[in-house]
């Protein structure tokens, strides 16, 4: 008897609703589980990527390494949503943002506990891993002290 080949679908746990189950960068989920938001670095040319990629579009190498998105970034822009697409209704209202960490920019949610009145373009923020309900996992932006 041959064993049924198991599918590595770790990525289906990402975010509120994941539209992707299988990806070559599934280790991203394990890094999140361990508390780190990670991107990939091309071993061929050194280029950094966030979101992480399995392949480098500069030197076309498929040899990638992981790096942690560390330190303090700046909030480039944000928006608070009063409506949500199907599957996200329970989260409303929520705030999407883009944070520039110089080496890379990261798109995601601003932590729900951050009051609206404290969110401004240019504010310092960190990206931190966060567990969601039902064994799901994501990351959020939280205000940082400089």
């Amino acid at each position: 008897m041959t064993e049924k080949k198991s599918i590595d679908d770790r990525f289906k746990r990402f975010g509120t609703v994941s539209f992707t189950a299988v990806t070559r960068v599934n280790d991203f989920i394990d890094h999140l589980q361990a508390g780190t938001v990670s991107g990939t670095r091309c071993r061929g040319c050194g280029r950094l990527f966030f979101p992480p990629r399995a392949h480098c579009c500069d030197c076309l190498s498929g040899d990638m390494d992981w790096f942690p998105v560390k330190g303090i970034g700046r909030l480039v822009s944000f928006s608070r949503l009063q409506y949500a697409p199907s599957g996200f209704e329970a989260d409303v209202p929520y705030c999407l943002g883009l944070v520039d960490f110089t080496d890379c920019k990261v798109f995601g949610r601003i932590a729900a506990e951050v009051p609206d009145t404290e969110i401004t373009v240019g504010m310092p923020m960190r990206a931190v891993a966060r567990r969601l309900e039902s064994h799901r996992i994501s990351y959020v932006f939280v205000p940082a002290r400089e």
């Binding site: 975010g15 822009s77 409506y83 949500a84 697409p85 199907s86 989260d91 994501s138």
Partner: protein
């Protein structure tokens, strides 16, 4: 100098819910365009069908339309660049004719969005962004454009009132457009009344009044080479400039958040090809899926320097009698936005302007017209420059 002309244009009414199937919807604009061009289906060598594919049960609509519109056995093909599909279809038709492969091509854009709910529609549109890395956070198109609006306001001091003024302009002309879905007047007071639906936040800083509505509709543009155009058309409109660009689907991969890089790049290409500049444009249609999109278009197309677009709307320079009239058909904000039909509808409006057939919204003796059509939140951008034959 290009040898490709638009010889016929057509558009269905844009409505909330079309009471028919997609092939019937396509027929409405096709019939109008063919009559406008004074040709028959057998004069058309090939067709290009444009839409975003996820709204319909029918797979591969191009083949279905070709049969229904009397375009068998001529070849047909389907093109898709989200909301920019229609002008991408025009670009493909131009290439098919310039290459000598075909002499007359019909570009048919359509969308029947009413078969799914608004929330489902938002979810599908949100999936026009990065489904692996952004959609899991609950993205939708208004939120992406809202982030551009927030960055524009923070960088340049444009205001929610500037955006509301763009919606007021849209309604000024939308009221005159019999094919528009939203024809009621919109005033600035509505935006300052918290009880008014227009003022309700969708994705801050964008409010309901800043967003265009879904609609069902179709458009058709008939394109011909110089010889055929001269033989059948008394009023051809010439394609003088074409520009097209793409950008990172994920906002993480972008550098510019106060404008759309695809629009800037496509505009530069189109101006170079036409041998003219922004000051030569007499009338324009821009992709105002959201009010902020029109404000950024003023700047991306060079009608105003970066950050100065707000002065155009404050000074009413983009009204019919202003320096650079924009969206005199009411824009997407008034017409509604049936994704695949939108680019063709914009092109039709400029063709009617350049032929002097725009009725109450006619600009005086325009020579050059421009169409700016964007797909996704700045994922695809097409800029097309047309010239009057008059």
């Amino acid at each position: 100098m290009s040898n490709v002309a638009i010889i016929g244009v057509g558009q269905s009414e844009f409505v909330r819910s079309y009471p028919g199937s997609i092939r019937e919807l396509a027929f409405e604009s096709f019939q109008e365009a063919v009559c406008d061009a004074r040709i028959g289906p057998k004069d058309i060598d090939a067709s290009v069908v444009c839409s975003a594919p996820e709204y319909d049960r029918q797979r591969s609509p191009a083949g279905v339309f070709a049969e229904y519109l009397g375009l068998n056995p001529q070849p047909t093909v389907y093109v898709e660049t989200l909301c920019a599909s229609g002008s991408t279809g025009l670009r493909l038709a131009y290439a098919l004719i310039e290459s000598g492969l075909h002499r007359v091509v019909a570009v048919i854009g359509f969308q029947k969005m009413s078969e799914i709910s608004s929330a489902e529609s938002q979810e599908r549109m949100g999936r026009g962004a990065d489904i692996q890395w952004e959609s899991p956070f609950g993205t939708m198109m208004p939120a992406y454009y809202a982030m551009y609006a927030r960055a524009h306001m923070a960088t340049y001091g444009s205001t929610p009132e500037d955006l509301a003024a763009i919606r007021v302009k849209a309604s000024t002309y939308g009221r005159l457009n019999e094919k528009a879905v939203y024809r009621k007047p919109v005033t600035l007071d509505m935006f300052s009344d918290p009880e008014n639906r227009m003022a309700a936040p969708v994705a801050t800083p964008l409010r309901v009044g800043d967003c265009c509505a879904n609609a069902d509709g179709s458009s058709c543009i008939i394109v011909a080479g110089k010889e055929r155009a001269a033989a059948v058309s008394e009023n051809p409109v010439w394609i003088r400039g074409l520009g097209a660009a793409s950008a990172s689907v994920n906002l993480s991969g972008r550098e510019l958040f106060t404008g759309l890089s695809v629009a800037r790049s496509a505009a530069a290409q189109a101006y170079t090809m036409a041998g003219i500049g922004p000051a030569d444009i007499d009338v324009a249609e821009v992709h105002d899926c959201f009010t902020i999109a029109e404000l950024m278009a003023y700047e991306d197309l060079g009608f105003a320097p970066p950050g100065q677009g707000r002065h155009l709307i404050r000074e009413k320079a983009t009204y019919r009698d202003g320096r650079i009239p924009v969206n005199l058909d009411g824009g997407l904000l008034s017409k509604g936005h049936p994704i695949g039909a939108t680019g063709g509808s914009q092109i039709r409006t400029i063709v009617l302007q350049l032929r002097g057939e725009a009725g109450d919204t006619q600009v005086k003796d325009p020579r050059f017209g421009l169409v700016h059509n964007i797909g996704g939140a700045g994922l695809y951008g097409n800029v097309t420059i047309l010239e009057s034959d008059r």
